[in-house]
């Protein structure tokens, strides 16, 4: 198959992570009380960061795989 699954996974996580970061930053000022339920932790911001890091890593792996593949025997 010519589609490397790491690319869509990486992209999805990067997009969702980025979205959560922006939303987390915005709500940090507009509605900080909403984080009472997550024990005062801005879970959107922090988990968004984790997800976008993972997404970037997967995208990098996927692109690296795509450029290396043509040289490989299988």
């Amino acid at each position: 198959m010519n589609l490397d699954i790491r690319l869509p996974i990486g992209l999805l996580f990067a997009i969702l992570g980025g979205l959560l970061i922006v939303y987390g930053l915005w709500t940090q000022f507009s509605d900080p009380n909403m984080y009472d339920r997550s024990l005062g932790l801005n879970i959107n911001l922090w988990w968004g960061l984790v997800m976008s890091l993972f997404g970037t890593f997967m995208t990098w792996l996927g692109r690296k795989g795509a450029t290396e593949k043509p040289q490989q025997a299988h």
């Binding site: 699954i5 869509p8 999805l12 969702l16 979205l19 909403m34 997550s38 988990w47 997800m51 993972f54």
Partner: protein
């Protein structure tokens, strides 16, 4: 502090759905032959096949059900992983995959035809096809019911002037259309790719939930102290008290657990169910196929922390259940919390409590994970958590749909209805089978919503069919004398033995009927034996079915003609060359990988004894 869905939650779900369908669209142009569609052209790398292997099994029922068992029985639920699934996955990778992959069979029933005969294959193909469409219907129903109970979509649906029934219709139709869409377009590859995507999403959605919950109760030691304080000391131990059925929450002693759950049920499922085996068959080489279940076992052994732990946390959360989404919706009644976050069971329409025979409210353990999500997640990440639930549901359903279209096309349609057609015709049939398999599943989901007992009965019958199957495979692969007649009659009598065992015994405190005891009840007598729990009865029923199938298969085989050795090359252990793996470095070898997996699992059992 109420939560209702905001635009961002819907946006996250929409982006996910766009990706899922996008993968199907991107793969459509690679689907040229039926082998591409049904077996991904045998081109899937081992790690992708491995993650799909566990993801196809990680349906909504597993996620919801494991958390529910966690809340009900404690960490002992991990036996389903550390005694059940993992050893079975190591076995299928090391010992069975050489025959599945090496025989070039397209499906598990086809292997049965190659090894035994046509009638054994027919029996397996037909029961399996029926089971998969109904299973996906049942999980669709469970998901739609869950969405209704959460009242998350009440506001938009009621705003459109529709009745609440439309939440059920919309949940079923929408999810069916999406799964149908990506399987129809990209076949097994699309299902597998999406299962990998869904695997990561499920982890991303539930991991922060576990971390927040643990932080709240003060880590594992805090959780232990809280549960000890509630008199649930055993909830944090897996093996303490397993010496006798009466001294542990599962109500089963170690022998019934290891034999019934570990050996018969788990080996039966992971080694013979085409739903999971199909993922390994799609791998790009024999070594990859053997590595698939072993790679799958690595994340699988940590799943108890992801899906069972939320159940324990749900009963140990220090603050009582805050009014969550349910309460904020007009006309919706909120069920009172019984135990931590676990609510009482309520009737969706009347809002009345369901009571047991002592007049006490019944805890709805299935709500453990959903309640945890609503309790800890603010909007934003709440959308991610719900998307994870949705993803788990879709990956489970796609697993059923792809297994169904393959078995239908290869083992029923091509074998009995229309043999000898062109490959293009079977590719078309595969797509068409995806369509009508989904339609039947939708029908099954509606059937379940009307007659709940019919679905319970069906799942029971599936248990009768599955329990003996592993005996057939074990004898087929390791005893060349086992004959087709032996396999066929062994399977039938194993299923019969399960049904009779179920009819004679009953879990304590249950009424005769769907729970068992229906044969003795016909004669006006009580059950022969009253098991402490449903689970104990299930494990022992599986043992009875397995032993019967094993004995009958051997007996019948000894009196019937075996197949000549030359027909069994590549199908039976003694007549098959061992896979050559000398050129691989040690960590690439399936045997080394298998031993690492087993050692880690033993360590987990020891740590949480």
């Amino acid at each position: 502090m109420t939560t209702s869905l905001a635009w961002i939650d819907y946006l996250i779900m929409l982006i996910y759905l766009a990706f899922v369908l996008g993968i199907g669209v991107a793969l459509k142009r690679f689907m040229k032959t039926s082998e591409d569609f049904f077996l991904s052209g045998r081109s899937i790398p081992a790690w992708v096949a491995g993650l799909a292997f566990i993801s196809a099994n990680l349906g909504a029922q597993e996620v919801i059900g494991m958390a529910a068992s966690g809340a009900k029985y404690g960490i002992a639920t991990s036996h389903f992983y550390w005694v059940g699934a993992i050893p079975a996955m190591v076995f299928v990778g090391l010992f069975m995959m050489p025959f599945y992959y090496g025989s070039r069979a397209h499906s598990v029933p086809e292997y049965l035809r190659l090894r035994f005969d046509e009638k054994t294959r027919g029996l397996n193909a037909i029961t399996f096809a029926v089971m998969t469409v109904f299973s996906s219907g049942i999980s669709m129903y469970a998901m739609a019911k869950l969405i209704m109970l959460l009242h998350l979509f009440d506001a938009p649906v009621l705003a459109m002037g529709l009745s609440r029934d439309w939440i059920f219709h919309a949940a079923i139709i929408l999810s069916a259309v999406i799964v149908l869409g990506y399987v129809y377009l990209g076949g097994l590859t699309s299902a597998i790719y999406n299962e990998v995507l869904q695997f990561f999403l499920i982890v991303a959605g539930f991991l922060p939930l576990v971390l927040l919950g643990l932080k709240n109760v003060g880590g594992w030691s805090g959780l232990k102290a809280t549960l000890d304080g509630m008199g649930k000391t055993q909830f944090t131990h897996t093996w303490v008290g397993m010496g006798q059925a009466s001294t542990n929450p599962l109500g089963v002693e170690w022998f019934g657990l290891v034999m019934g759950l570990g050996f018969v049920l788990s080996f039966g499922y992971w080694c013979t169910d085409f739903l999971v085996v199909q993922r390994a068959m799609a791998a790009d080489s024999m070594t990859s196929a053997r590595r698939t279940p072993l790679i799958a076992a690595l994340p699988k052994m940590f799943f108890p922390f992801l899906v069972i732990l939320p159940g324990l946390l749900a009963i140990a959360v220090p603050t009582p259940a805050a009014p969550v989404a349910e309460a904020s919706k007009p006309g919706a009644t909120e069920a009172p919390a019984l135990q931590g976050l676990i609510p009482a069971k309520v009737d969706y329409y009347t809002g009345e409590l369901e009571l047991d025979k002592d007049g006490k409210p019944v805890p709805d353990y299935d709500m453990a994970i959903p309640r945890m999500l609503l309790h800890y997640f603010p909007t934003g990440i709440l959308g991610l958590g719900l998307t994870a639930l949705l993803a788990s549901f879709m990956s489970g359903m796609a697993g059923n749909v792809t297994a169904f279209n393959t078995v239908w096309t290869y083992d029923i349609y091509k074998a009995y209805v229309h043999p000898g057609a062109s490959d293009n015709h079977y590719l078309w049939m595969g797509r068409f089978a995806t369509l009508f398999g989904t339609v039947i599943s939708i029908g099954a989901a509606y059937l379940a919503s009307r007659f709940n007992n019919i679905m319970d009965a069906l799942q029971l019958v599936f248990g009768f069919v599955n329990a003996p199957l592993f005996a057939t495979f074990l004898l087929g692969m390791f005893w060349k004398r086992a004959s087709g007649h032996g396999a066929f009659w062994g399977l039938l009598s194993g299923t019969g033995a399960a049904a009779i065992f179920h009819g004679l015994n009953l879990p304590a405190g249950s009424a005769a009927g769907i729970k068992g005891g229906w044969i003795t009840n016909l004669f006006g007598a009580g059950p022969l034996y009253a098991f402490p729990t449903d689970m104990a009865q299930n494990f022992w029923m599986a043992i009875a079915a397995w032993v019967t199938c094993f004995v009958v298969t051997i007996a019948v085989s000894l009196f019937t003609q075996p197949r000549p050795d030359k027909e069994l090359v590549g199908l039976v252990y003694a007549l098959t060359d061992k896979p050559q793996e000398g050129h691989l470095t040690w960590y690439q070898r399936p045997l080394a990988l298998g031993l690492v997996v087993l050692a880690m699992t033993a360590a987990l059992n020891f740590l949480f004894y």
